[in-house]
Symmetry: C3
Subunit: 471 residues, 3 copies
């Protein structure tokens, strides 16, 4: 059995002098409250505040960062608890946990392992590394822990020092859980919705018309016309803002944003409902809607987050059997400078508009995102995301973006996770890596240690507050 004991100096530079500086800078922010302005935790979890289910259902099955890697070494997804063809998995929690323990070594060197080690140790108090030999004892320990009221969602929310947690929600969502939380005087936390209208932007996808209908009901406006859809989105944005939301999010395959004349957009909208849509029309419609979302952001001040460049559901057979978000959304080439020209021409210097650009294509950091954030007052360079939310990629991001955008025009860290218990570990990794980057600047006499300490604090405080208008 090998001890599980995350080192207090983990992720700091190896050079003793630089490490000392990194330690001091990290100490400035190690216990700062967590601002989580972008993520995928379900607000109902906190509203209900029920005990978490078994360890596997909490830690493994819903986390596609974990399941995709086990799948990559040959573990079928149904053995990890995923429902296949609509039938619940027959694997019980203990069996699923054992699979993780058997394959624990395939995570060596990956951020998932580092997050897990911190989470297992600091949240759950485990002291031994997972392995076939320790699997059952660890499972028992985790199960017992989860039964403890101190491990209910709200207790952990407080213990994690989360000040703001943003969820991601469909425009048709009634935000009931958010309202319950806001009305509950016993819960002082701030849980805010994020407006994500992706599912209305693809008139070529099955179910688009049905989604329009649902949205129509919630927004109380006819969405069978294009102006009606825009009005419904506008109303729901207002409802999100009233529920505390400060931002929207959009994940599209590319950042193309050419506006259409209303007549043309209306024509395509009708064609989609009539079933005569072409692929070109669908793309034009999507790009127009991206432009309109920017226009709405300039109008209502909700911060626009943009996450382009991911090919969703790459492996059709897995999608057919297991559904979306099962580990095979995969990155493609990214681009911003050209495709965002229409949006930035019309709103780039608009006083209310704000656009945070995220990418899974690192080449855009120094080539596009940094330069755009370094000119347009509205543009912010989003933190590395998804596949590149890792110690090395965060360093590459800082080294690439700081040159042309400094620190002020970066977004601050976002954890983007549905794994609630990993939130502190993820923010801690980010704080350590930023401290290491700043320590190197100090050691190379590029920034004074005094200025670096100010920057370290700003990166977890006023920078995300300002970027996401958290107040």
């Amino acid at each position: 059995m090998t001890a599980l004991a995350p080192h207090p100096d983990r992720l700091f530079p190896a050079d003793p002098g630089v490490r000392d500086i990194a330690r001091r800078l990290y100490a400035e922010v190690a216990t700062a409250p967590i601002l989580s302005p972008h993520g995928h935790v379900d607000a109902r979890m906190l509203a209900d505040d029920e005990p978490f289910p078994d360890p596997a259902a909490l830690l493994i099955t819903p986390d596609h960062y974990v399941t995709r890697m086990l799948h990559a070494v040959g573990v079928p997804l149904d053995e990890l608890g995923l429902a296949r063809d609509g039938r619940p998995s027959t694997a019980d929690g203990r069996a699923i946990w054992r699979r993780l323990c058997e394959h624990w070594d395939v995570f060596l060197g990956t951020p998932v392992r580092l997050w897990f080690e911190t989470e297992f140790s600091e949240v759950f108090g485990l002291t031994e590394q997972p392995s076939p030999a320790t699997a059952d004892a660890l499972y028992d320990q985790l199960s017992a822990t989860l039964a403890d009221p101190a491990f209910r969602p709200r207790a952990l929310f407080e213990r994690f020092r989360i000040e703001v947690l943003a969820t991601t929600d469909d425009p048709a969502d009634d935000l009931a859980a958010h309202h319950r939380l806001a009305a509950d005087a016993t819960f002082p936390g701030r849980v805010i919705p994020t407006f994500r209208a992706d599912r209305y932007m693809h008139p070529d996808e099955p179910g688009w018309a049905a989604r329009l209908e649902r949205l129509s009901a919630v927004a109380d406006v006819d969405t069978t016309t294009y102006p009606g859809l825009l009005e419904a989105l506008r109303r729901r944005r207002r409802a999100f803002a009233e529920a505390g939301g400060t931002a929207t999010d959009t994940g599209v395959i590319d950042a193309g944003s050419d506006p259409l004349h209303e007549a043309e957009a209306s024509r395509i909208h009708r064609a989609a409902l009539d079933g005569t849509l072409t692929a070109g029309e669908a793309a034009a419609y999507r790009r127009n809607l991206l432009y309109r979302l920017a226009e709405l952001s300039a109008e209502d001040g909700l911060v626009m987050q943009l996450h382009p460049g991911v090919l969703r559901n790459h492996h059709r057979p897995t999608f057919d059997a297991y559904g979306p978000d099962t580990g095979h959304d995969l990155p493609a080439v990214g681009a911003f400078t050209r495709p965002l020209t229409p949006i930035l021409r019309d709103f780039g210097t608009h006083p209310t508009f704000r656009l945070v650009l995220f990418t899974v294509d690192e080449t855009t950091f120094s080539r596009e995102i940094g330069p755009l954030a370094g000119f347009y007052p509205s543009v912010y360079a989003g933190a590395p995301w998804w596949f590149i939310d890792t110690p090395d990629a965060i360093l590459r991001y800082r080294r690439a973006v700081t040159d042309s955008a400094g620190f002020t025009k970066t977004s601050g860290f976002i954890d983007d996770t549905r794994a609630f218990c990993s939130i502190p570990a993820r923010h801690d990794m980010s704080r350590r890596v930023d401290a290491s980057y700043l320590a190197t600047l100090v050691a190379e006499h590029r920034v004074s240690e005094e200025d670096a300490a100010v920057l370290a604090r700003r990166l977890v405080d006023d920078i995300p507050r300002t970027t996401f208008r958290l107040g």
Copy 2:
């Protein structure tokens, strides 16, 4: 008030052993003369040798590296001295300087701040960091300094140890300032023109016909025909060479270089003058002209510099109000291997032809520029440029290009600046970073320290001399 005192070890590696090596290698080149084979200083400034205007007009307003970043944090460009809609800015020098001092922290970690710190300290003798509290005193000190004859352009040229300074000039420029300088026995410096014909390559741009007319007058050849334009360019290249020029420069959106038959090029030329040009024809004409510029370089031996991949004037409203070169020329994806195929097929091994490739897309360093320079005798890997003329990107360039092109086929540093007083700081940064890179190779036993010292000296001496045929 915080001291302004650039550290003697700035930009060297933090590891004590490697830093010692870097110090020794840097010492080999710290005071070497400056060869500046590519930049944007105006030759008239040196020919007239008038005192510089106020500090803001010297240091801030004309430098889009500085103004774009202040714009990105919300300062309108007219508050930085830029003329808007043809009306001069009402902001006076002191007010503009204060804006920089107020926002000094947004430059933390950026190369602009490092250049400024070195320049303020070593050129102007400032000893305090800019801040709202120090703004006025620093402004007064700078103003007083600029009145000193020792701070006139020629005195600084000498003090900066500039051996060669290349300007960038339109083919229709009569090079009067260059001739005045050459004829002035009291000025021993070498200021040479660079032939930049970009404005003749885009028959779809407003003003193209008028520019042809001006060129016709200077070159004394009819440019209303395509062969006439080629002949005019050939003659002006000869005039530039006679004025000491050794190189040309071209900045186009892509490196496409397919030649056209003369009849087809002539047809498009006429169509452009007749106002019947299509977008496709304009692109074909531009690519043909790029090929012809290569052909002329093979003929007359002027070194061809190529800077593709920048989308000019990305924000149309800023262009309309403030004109070009105002901070929103923004990078797009770069490519060389494919689009340069015609030029390299025909001139790649030509004994006279020489092509220096620059990029703002770092992905091309290891993928295209290094391999091309590592095969074609005519091709040189240009130093990082513009957004990537930074300590980290220079290191990335060396790590990417050395593998396939070594040092001999790199261009040597170019400062590419219109900020005359920043020239020593920029070259100093480059020398420090190259010393650091070489020191790492030495410390990792990849190159001997003796060889590294030779390379350090060559990088600021025979390598740029050879690349740019400076003699």
Copy 3:
């Protein structure tokens, strides 16, 4: 004269603490047997076991890594021994060797120099650096050495501790040399063929029909029809497997893999033989064949290696004079996620299928290859290749790919060389760089030293064995 004495710590990190860890990790693998699952050594060389020819013919002329760089600094290829226009070079071995010695400094900082230094020192016992002054003495020493029976191919094979050496072979190759080696009880080494069908995938290339005929003869099946070609490829794959082959290789310009219906593929096949093929049809045919090769791999279990993204024979005049593989195959943009969709949809989770992805475009490491290998059980992230088979690029690869694919889903090192005597030097470089990467993870407390030692051993043993099904 400068001593040639590769430092025992070469390529290890400069920080003393990290270097100590790297030394210990390297010691775990320094003398491990060499598995070379991808390369270009000719099996006949080992079957014949004749003495090597003169030093230049062994070390310089056939190695385009070396000749391209000398060409880039102005040495014509015929002065390096390459036959021009079908006429043998008139340069003798000593003259060629002198050219390398004259230009030895242009290799400073490149991997070619590091490989040569290790090879010259450790294989041939040279103790002085090449230079004009030492050229003749070194040439004499090398010539004498090559006459020694201990320097015949098989003796070196054993001395190099090569356990498996995979060659690269045309499907029409009769594999006679492999059979001779297998039948020779005095040679215990394992030399296995790799099936590379590139030359049958381009029906637009001159000689395609003639190649089909040769293949037809070897496979004993009519290849004038498309199904006949598929059957011939299937049969030859079986023959390769029976000769010990475990893998195929494919080098195409892009990874497009859209299957065609058999009727359409047959139609294009006939059109190609009839001389009526279009460029679009040729590309469609090639992409269909890539899909069919994947289908065959799923069927027979030969590991599919894919090396896309190289523009072959970029400089037409050099190709016309000197033929292929003469240093001007040059990289272009790479892509995997999109173009491999058809193959991965149909075979991505197939239990027998295995696909190793190589690239010369580093941007694909974190964006595409890592994420694909981190989901699909069949996909492995190939080691850096060709222009990026270098110390810095190997580090970048690890830093980019480990995040999403860990170590288990990487391929292990491949030397990809036709320079037999450089094989130990290349594997040694890889082992040193991997030890350095792992040492950094240990020093940053991201992986324990115990785990790192296990990983170091796995990277030269079970990881390549598993990836390439070496048994």
